[in-house]
């Protein structure tokens, strides 16, 4: 490593920067985000590095560009080529309705409307081609596509995971007819069985790709002009990709920012020797919950962003609409409620002076005296009196005291976040009581003890740089490349070398992603019992052999579901990931601390503190609330470990 490793994470309000130097020292700060063009805020953050800082070596960016494009539906004009008879897959989804009890609720509309879908006459079945696709027929398809004036064309045909030949034929015809138009084939995006998920993911890639490409190019240009190196972009898988590669993997950037947070939390857990941890990143409008197993973020395929299914492997992140800006209110039934409406960044909590008038979770914390410093990141003083007045107005309506009302607001928001933490762990057969809780983001340290008590966790870690941990996670993340190949064979019928790991690895390395043999390669098999409708990812090694793979699968199945079966195991697909680089930090408290037991302000300097609850500790950009019954000890790497007494 030479020079600073910099992570820049864009959020709704702030763009966070964390820069790690060769000696492990960290520079971290926030600047305002620039929602019109995120890259402007990124550049601004990078050009504010203090004078005398080492030169910038690498830049990793966590972006919300893809999420925003999906939420606001501002992606490209896509035409989809699909098998005749199965052209309506995007509308049919999986048949479940949008809401169980709201019969008029609709799913968000598909990214491609019905009149931009072109049928392809060939048909492939599990046994092979049952209706051939001639070059002439493919040319006719291309002709009809051309009349629809696409920005990008997506091609997703039935059983293409098993036989990509028809997709290739259509793609060739399209490139011939529309040479300047990008073509995205499902086989290249996600060669796995299940047509709806594969098609939706392929269409998502086509939909966001041009926008991602433009954004990434603009960012690279800005940074180049400022004399900075080419940026990499964090992907949902927790690895980074250089800008030109990221531009062709748009759908994999949908969880760019949150993945950085879990990666950062996992790094801290690893450093402290913690194998299993639940992570929670609490911001202004939402909280992101993740799971760390064996010191690594849990990687799983599946999930949806803004109602668009993306079946690629991604760091597990469940988002809850609960945060500092969640609004407290009294409903028709006379109950105190918190959220789901949020004051967001604007107008924000009453205390933020930005025009907010409704009491929020942050205002409740202020009324309870939970906030250590009354000065915000941008130097503005909190409106303490305003926050208290808003809570008082609510308590008057309920007929309860200010204290009771504010405590109830915090308890309600804790209850909804605790539910997500339990769900994420229990659904995967993990007992939350065996996990530590890593709590970060602006609100994480405030809620950590309350959440831990609700889910039975006895150890809480508040990492150093808790307010910008996502950016730190970006700064240290390795580059990661993933390729997948379909298998769809029963394990018993496979010889050990019939799994195409070596060709996958060759592909990864020959794509110029690594110099020679560098980097760490991991191999995964997606497997299930024959007849099951879902798969498990099992990490394997190519030398493991059929029996070894079966044993790994059985162990994983038992852990996850609590039983094994006397039944054949089927390999659906295999995946190879190559990780290159990645940084380790010599995290340490540095310099003299101005800590005193009276003020309890942790400035990151050397200190040996033990604080018994109830107490507050001021952190940069956040407050740590040590609850009654908890003891906080300062960590040598910075941050705090809390134990229930």
């Amino acid at each position: 490593m030479s020079g600073l490793s910099v992570g820049v994470d864009v959020g709704g309000t702030f763009t966070d920067l964390a820069a790690v130097a060769d000696d492990g020292s960290v520079i971290a700060y926030k600047v305002s985000s620039t929602p019109g063009d995120q890259s402007e805020g990124v550049e601004r953050a990078l050009t504010r590095l203090p004078p005398g800082a080492p030169p910038v070596g690498t830049i990793v960016h966590g972006t919300t560009v893809v999420t925003n494009m999906l939420l606001e539906r501002t992606g490209a004009r896509v035409v989809l080529c699909a098998t005749d008879g199965a052209t309506d897959l995007l509308e049919l989804r999986r048949q479940e309705r949008a809401a169980l009890y709201d019969l008029s609720a609709h799913h968000p509309p598909p990214l491609v409307p019905a009149d931009r879908i072109v049928g392809v006459p060939g048909r492939i079945a599990p046994e092979g081609v049952v209706r051939p696709l001639s070059a002439t027929a493919a040319a006719e398809v291309a002709e009809r596509v051309a009349t629809l004036a696409p920005d990008v064309v997506a091609v997703s045909l039935l059983h293409a995971y098993a036989d990509p030949s028809h997709e290739r034929t259509v793609a060739d015809a399209l490139r011939n007819r529309l040479p300047s138009c990008d073509v995205v084939c499902s086989t290249d995006v996600l060669p796995e069985i299940r047509e709806y998920e594969r098609t939706a993911t392929t269409v998502c890639e086509a939909y966001v790709r041009p926008g991602v490409g433009r954004y990434v190019a603009r960012l690279a240009q800005r940074l180049h002009s400022a004399g900075l190196p080419e940026p990499s972009v964090m992907s949902s898988s927790g690895g980074t990709a250089p800008a030109p590669v990221a531009a062709f993997n748009g759908a994999s950037l949908a969880l760019s920012g949150p993945a950085g947070g879990v990666a950062g939390a996992a790094y801290i857990a690893r450093t402290l020797g913690i194998e299993r941890a639940l992570t929670i990143d609490i911001g202004g409008t939402s909280a992101d919950v993740g799971l760390v197993l064996g010191g690594e973020p849990l990687l799983e395929a599946g999930g949806a962003v803004a109602g668009v299914p993306i079946a690629l492997a991604r760091v597990l992140v469940e988002t809850v609409s609960a945060g500092g800006g969640s609004i407290a209110w009294v409903d028709d039934g006379g109950a105190l409620r918190v959220g789901p409406r949020s004051a967001g960044a604007r107008p924000g909590p009453v205390a933020f002076h930005r025009g907010g008038t409704q009491p929020t979770v942050t205002d409740a914390h202020i009324a309870l005296g939970n906030i250590a410093s009354t000065t915000m990141s941008d130097g503005v003083e909190l409106d303490v009196a305003g926050a208290i007045a808003a809570i008082d107005a609510l308590s008057a309506r309920i007929g309860a005291s200010r204290q009771a009302t504010a405590e109830a607001i915090v308890a309600i928001v804790d209850a909804s976040m605790a539910r997500a933490l339990r769900r994420v762990s229990v659904e995967r057969g993990i007992d939350p009581r065996e996990c530590a809780l890593v709590a970060f983001g602006g609100g994480g340290p405030l809620h950590a003890c309350g959440l831990a008590e609700r889910i039975g966790v006895r150890t809480v870690i508040v990492p150093p740089y808790a307010g910008v941990l996502s950016a730190l996670g970006l700064a240290i993340a390795p580059q990661r490349y993933i390729t997948t190949a379909s298998v769809m064979r029963v394990l018993g019928e496979l010889g050990a070398d019939m799994l195409p790991f070596s060709s996958l690895e060759t592909t990864l390395r020959s794509n110029g992603h690594s110099n020679g043999d560098g980097g760490a390669v991991k191999h995964f098999a997606r497997a299930r019992y024959v007849g099951q409708g879902h798969e498990l990812d099992v990490e394997v090694s190519p030398s493991l052999g059929v029996d070894g793979i079966r044993q790994r699968f059985l162990a994983r199945h038992d852990e996850r579901f609590g039983f094994t079966l006397d039944r054949d195991v089927e390999i659906v697909s295999v995946r190879c990931s190559l990780s290159v680089g990645g940084h380790t930090m010599q995290l340490a408290r540095r310099g003299r601390s101005a800590w005193s037991d009276e003020t309890r302000l942790d400035d990151g300097g050397e200190l040996m503190g033990v604080v018994a609850g109830r107490a507050t500790i001021g952190l940069p950009d956040a407050t740590l609330l040590v609850a009654d019954g908890w003891t906080a000890r300062s960590l040598g790497i910075g941050g705090w470990a809390l134990e229930a007494r």
Partner: protein, 526 residues
């Protein structure tokens, strides 16, 4: 704004989250442990928590038909003199059950020698014996043909398993290993409910938890009553019919009269047909579930689901009619098709009373079973939802008492000798109107080897109605090699035969526009 039942309104939502979380976890444990795809993938299962008096305080439901029916199971168990730690199994429609494939397990949660609550888990099992694989026979006329009947019997006494009954049940089903696994998962889910409930009692103290349950039921009831009060004094009647009972094609009328008096909603089903010979009857608990479901759809999404909803309803069901079936009437299809027709009829009554409800949806689950040597494949198909004043009806979804997912074409073709030649939105099948009804679907199956197909479908001759001047949706169509076949039938198929199922569209809302989507009934694909 007053506190509820003396319980602190500040703590109500915290307690609501805490009890819902336990019910949710029971569901997670069940899905995690269950063997069969029907429970794990299609999620045809529910779990619920009850207080010591047998009132449901929280439910995690994927399937609305279980919504209001589980309390009957707990009531049935309470008549058996349960002791703390006893676990009961039941499926008898005439003693707390719904139809035989739904095996319900109820644990009496014990603490300090007393029963302090109940945990209940209901799951649709892929086979419980009887005259045909899958235990959803077409043409059954007696309950005995539909599978093994289990009244509420103990499978654990004071926490100690009693295996005798379990062995008897497993000896009567076609897939005992899978059943055994699924029942073990249900047992684990009940245990999770018990552990969660006891932990919550310990944390909150029993007195506070009891007060919280009271307050939660009261809160939901008040939200329901407030919504009913908004409707004003209304009165309306709806009449609809099932298209035959599987034995005869004669209509089976269903009638519902809705009225609101003094802030309570009353549903009177006088006029509904007497119990029929075939198996579209349903027990009272299923009728109650349908009524609770309809009221639930009128409430805001955030109202906690518990017995407080049912407490706002008065039901008058003529004794012994098709929706208050008596032993030994057959009921297998009643749970899926009659339950849907009951909701349709109540919605129609509400619409006639001037309540802004959606037009009728597809009104059937389109039950389709293929069976050959060594394999059975069962699925249900979505269709059109009715339009409402809020907009067009959603297309290609389950509209009422079900919400199971579809089977991917590639998975189906990989596993069974069936090819899907077409799976598409049935364009134009939604009824015209200012807002059009949702479209049904077309699914075309081509079989590669000799097998049978069993169809249990509805709305093939009586179309889903429109509302406020909207046109009806297109009725469904079943075909074999392009020729119409009955709504309920069993056919022998040869290799290459093609079965096509076109599901109904939803009814339209409001008077149609002159052009565009407003008037397109003529273009319905048949």
């Amino acid at each position: 704004m007053t506190a509820t039942s003396g319980f602190d309104p500040l703590a109500l939502m915290v307690m609501s989250n805490a009890v819902s979380m336990i019910a949710e976890e029971m569901g997670v444990v069940l899905e995690r442990g269950a063997l069969s795809p029907n429970i794990r993938e299609r999620r045809d299962a529910s779990s619920a928590l009850f207080d010591a008096r047998g009132r449901m305080v929280a439910q995690a439901a994927h399937i609305p038909v279980h919504l209001g029916a589980m309390p009957e199971s707990v009531r049935a168990v309470m008549t058996q003199g349960p002791e703390p730690g006893d676990v009961f199994l039941l499926n008898d429609p005439y003693a707390g059950g719904s139809h035989l494939p739904d095996l319900t397990m109820v644990e009496a949660i014990g603490d300090g020698g007393a029963i302090v609550g109940f945990a209940a888990v209901r799951a649709h099992h892929a086979d419980v014996g009887g005259m045909s694989p899958g235990s959803m026979p077409q043409g059954a006329t007696e309950l005995f043909q539909e599978g093994i009947i289990v009244p509420p019997v103990r499978i654990a006494r004071r926490g100690i398993p009693v295996d005798d009954v379990l062995r008897l049940v497993l000896a009567n089903v076609r897939t005992p290993a899978e059943r055994h696994g699924d029942l073990a998962a249900q047992r684990a889910a009940c245990a999770a409910g018990r552990e969660g409930w006891l932990a919550l009692r310990l944390r909150e103290t029993p007195a506070r938890l009891d007060a919280a349950c009271e307050a939660l039921l009261d809160y939901t009831r008040r939200r329901a009553l407030a919504r009913i009060a908004e409707l004003g004094d209304i009165h309306g009647r709806g009449v609809d019919a099932l298209e035959g009972d599987g034995v005869s094609d004669a209509d089976v009328p269903v009638a519902a009269e809705v009225s609101v008096r003094d802030g309570r909603m009353r549903l009177d089903f006088t006029g509904t047909a007497p119990a029929v010979r075939g198996n579209v009857n349903c027990p009272r608990s299923v009728t109650r579930a349908a009524a609770v479901f309809v009221l639930r759809t009128l409430l805001d999404d955030d109202v906690p689901t518990n017995d407080g909803i049912a407490e706002a309803l008065d039901l008058a069901i003529p004794a012994g009619c098709a929706i208050d079936a008596r032993w030994p009437s057959a009921v297998a299809a009643g749970n899926v098709e009659m339950s849907t027709r009951i909701t349709d009829t109540i919605f129609a009554a509400l619409g006639n009373a001037g309540v802004a409800v959606p037009a009728q949806g597809q009104g059937t689950m389109n039950n389709i079973t293929f069976g050959g040597v060594g394999w059975t494949f069962y699925e249900t198909l979505g269709g059109g939802q009715g339009a409402s004043a809020r907009g067009p009806g959603p297309s290609a979804v389950h509209v009422g008492m079900s919400n199971t997912r579809n089977t991917p074409i590639e998975s189906l073709e990989h596993a069974y000798p069936i090819r899907i030649d077409e799976y598409a939105v049935r364009r134009g099948s939604g009824g015209a109107g200012a807002f059009a009804g949702g479209d049904g679907v077309v699914r075309r199956y081509r079989v590669l080897e000799r097998c049978t197909v069993t169809l249990v479908t509805e709305r093939r001759r009586h179309a889903p109605s429109g509302i406020a001047g909207g046109a009806p949706g297109a009725p469904g169509v079943n075909q074999l090699n392009g020729k119409a076949i009955p709504a309920k039938c069993r056919m022998e198929l040869e290799p290459g035969d093609v079965v096509t199922v076109m599901t109904p569209g939803g009814g339209g809302w409001g008077t149609g526009r002159e052009s565009g989507i407003g008037n397109r009934e003529s273009s319905v694909a048949v």
